[in-house]
């Protein structure tokens, strides 16, 4: 399971968050931001606080309002009511300053197929006013990072999907933005390329002074990349926290045990107060517990004490899909 592997740096980060609490520095803040189209409310009074230098995920099904939300933060759409600040600038009143502080990778491709990769970066650099004396250096730096190799000087129509995506992400970085917006960065990419993009985003966040705000409807993506996740459904934020806290709050780890005497073990294990629920068939027994990682050794000991041989034991944390279901009652893929 992917979600068992939480990098140490990420754990360390949570500690800081919980210690510093309110004194956190937020680079994006929204205040009841709302977008209505006639009688349809795409984004409904959303309050978001994105900590500086984090990777923040907006997770939700298609049509939940993710792109509308991000578009308002990027100044592409004007909010119907409420507001937001990005890098300290108001998205309506100081749209231009906001634009200069952000990089954007749109959900749909935004490349000119008859320009080369390098030309895209050059064009972007001059549109964003990167001083001409450092422009070349920046472009080389980005090209190095996105590893286009010799393809950098070919027309983008010859690029693969992954290369196009990398170029778009790289382009968003040329002017050293404070915030990088990624709208469904791995949509339509093959698993291999998707992992590359993930690695790339993680590396970027570690090496640069940058906050990444991304939308996604891929659970593993949010789980693996994001320091904090806001779950959005039908235009409203349902819950926001770190993926690990969200999952922990479900209090629903599953321990799957294989034993030689299943009936006896089932009967005995029911008496333990940390076991919430027991179900199973034949030799495989599933136990619903909380914080399962601490319970594996005691369970094995308990079995031994009762003369039961444990053949195998497996721990499963809930994934964000389970979290989503528990808050909305639907699977993310079944959203509107």
């Amino acid at each position: 399971m992917i979600n068992n592997k939480i990098p140490e740096t990420q754990l360390f980060y949570y500690q800081i968050v919980s210690l510093e609490g309110i004194s956190m520095d937020y680079i994006i803040e929204t205040h009841n931001i709302t977008k209505k189209y006639d009688d349809f409310t795409a984004v409904d009074s959303v309050n978001l606080k994105v900590p500086r230098n984090s990777v923040y995920g907006v997770l939700g099904p298609n049509g939940a309002g993710k792109t509308t939300l991000i578009s308002m933060l990027c100044t592409i759409l004007r909010p119907t009511s409420g507001g937001a600040t990005v890098n300290g600038y108001d998205v309506v009143k100081n749209a231009r300053e906001v634009r200069a502080s952000i990089g954007i990778v749109f959900q749909s491709r935004a490349l000119d197929d008859i320009l080369t990769g390098r030309e895209h970066l050059e064009m972007h650099a001059s549109l964003y006013g990167v001083p001409s004396n450092i422009r070349q250096e920046r472009i080389d730096e980005v090209l190095n990072l996105i590893a286009l190799g010799e393809k950098a000087d070919e027309y983008t129509k010859t690029y693969s999907g992954g290369m196009k995506r990398r170029l778009e992400i790289g382009r968003g970085l040329v002017h050293h933005p404070k915030v990088l917006f990624l709208d469904e960065p791995t949509l339509g990419l093959d698993p291999q390329t998707r992992e590359n993009i993930w690695e790339y985003i993680t590396k970027l966040n570690q090496e640069e002074d940058i906050t990444v705000l991304m939308t996604t409807h891929y659970m593993e993506e949010a789980d693996q990349l994001c320091d904090e996740v806001a779950i959005i459904n039908q235009g409203q934020i349902i819950k926001s926290d770190s993926p690990i806290n969200l999952k922990r709050e479900l209090k629903a780890d599953t321990i799957t045990v294989k034993v030689d005497k299943p009936e006896l073990f089932t009967e005995k294990v029911k008496t333990l107060d940390y076991v919430q629920k027991v179900f199973g068939d034949d030799s495989t027994i599933k136990l619903m517990v909380e914080r399962g990682e601490n319970l594996v050794p005691p369970l094995v000991n308990f079995a031994n004490q009762n003369g039961v041989m444990v053949e195998s034991i497996e721990l499963q944390h809930p994934n964000l899909e389970d979290v989503f279901i528990s808050y909305t009652g639907t699977k993310i893929t079944e959203g509107r």
């Binding site: 759409l77 749109f106 749909s108 935004a110 008859i114 001059s126």
Partner: protein, 254 residues
């Protein structure tokens, strides 16, 4: 400074696209030549056209230059719709430069490509046996600038209102062809029925074609200074109007 750089960047992209789509350059030269050689010769031998030295072929030569500029400018302007469908317009619109700069860059870029095509036609004047002097050449080139930029403005203005290329045929039927046919590119505009006459004078291209014809052939129906003034005003109005519309409709365009 940043705005000038933005305008230059947008202009540069137009240039690169123009140079790289080689087929477009080829058609832009071949199509007018077909008109001049086939249509000009064909109709020219069927009618008596005594009032211009060089005959009918020479008469339509400035008109065909006007037509080339018209088609190139309007369709390049309208091609912003394609940029929009490919999402590239978004990339430009979220940049921290003003909307008018984007429109100016576009209009100047399109204008440049149209003028280049016009200049190629000026060089090909020997095909229709028209005398070309350096002075005529320079005067025509200068005159083509406001005509091209103004028509690019028309294209951009249409693009700011149109969602998809489905409207392409409508633009062809209701804007481009009427402008071409009413401009006097193919026939003299004096002595037409009243209603048609008024329509002719409402067409901005009429003034462009008439001015080109006066410079190249020395014959025309509108005083040159009036034509030039109308063209300049038209260019300024169209560019500023589309700059205004891009600013106003920014949200819809992205």
């Amino acid at each position: 400074m940043a705005e000038l750089e933005g305008i230059y960047t947008i202009w540069l992209r137009e240039m690169k696209r123009f140079v790289r789509y080689r087929s477009r350059i080829l058609t832009s030269v071949v199509t007018p030549l077909l008109w001049l050689v086939i249509f000009g010769t064909g109709l020219g031998s069927a009618i008596r056209f005594g009032n211009v030295p060089g005959g009918y072929q020479a008469f339509i030569y400035p008109g065909i230059i006007g037509q080339t500029i018209l088609f190139t400018s309007i369709f390049s302007g309208v091609s912003v719709i394609i940029d929009r469908q490919y999402g590239f317009l978004k990339e430009i619109l979220v940049a921290p430069i003003t909307r008018p700069s984007i429109v100016f860059g576009k209009a100047i870029g399109i204008g440049t490509t149209a003028v280049i095509q016009g200049v190629i036609l000026l060089i090909l004047s020997f095909v229709v046996g028209v005398q070309m002097t350096p002075l005529i050449f320079i005067a025509c080139t200068l005159l083509m600038i406001p005509i091209s930029v103004g028509l690019a403005g028309v294209g951009l203005l249409i693009a700011s209102f149109t969602d998809s290329m489905e409207g392409f045929n409508l633009i062809m039927s209701f804007v481009v062809l009427p402008m071409f046919l009413l401009s006097g590119a193919l026939f003299p505009v004096s002595g037409l029925p009243m209603l048609l006459q008024s329509a002719v004078y409402l067409d901005p291209l009429t003034y462009g074609v008439d001015a080109l014809r006066q410079i190249i052939l020395g014959t025309g129906v509108i005083p040159l200074h009036i034509s030039i003034t109308v063209i300049m005003v038209f260019a300024a109005v169209m560019v500023f109007l589309s700059a205004y519309m891009f600013s106003k409709r920014e949200q819809e365009l992205m």
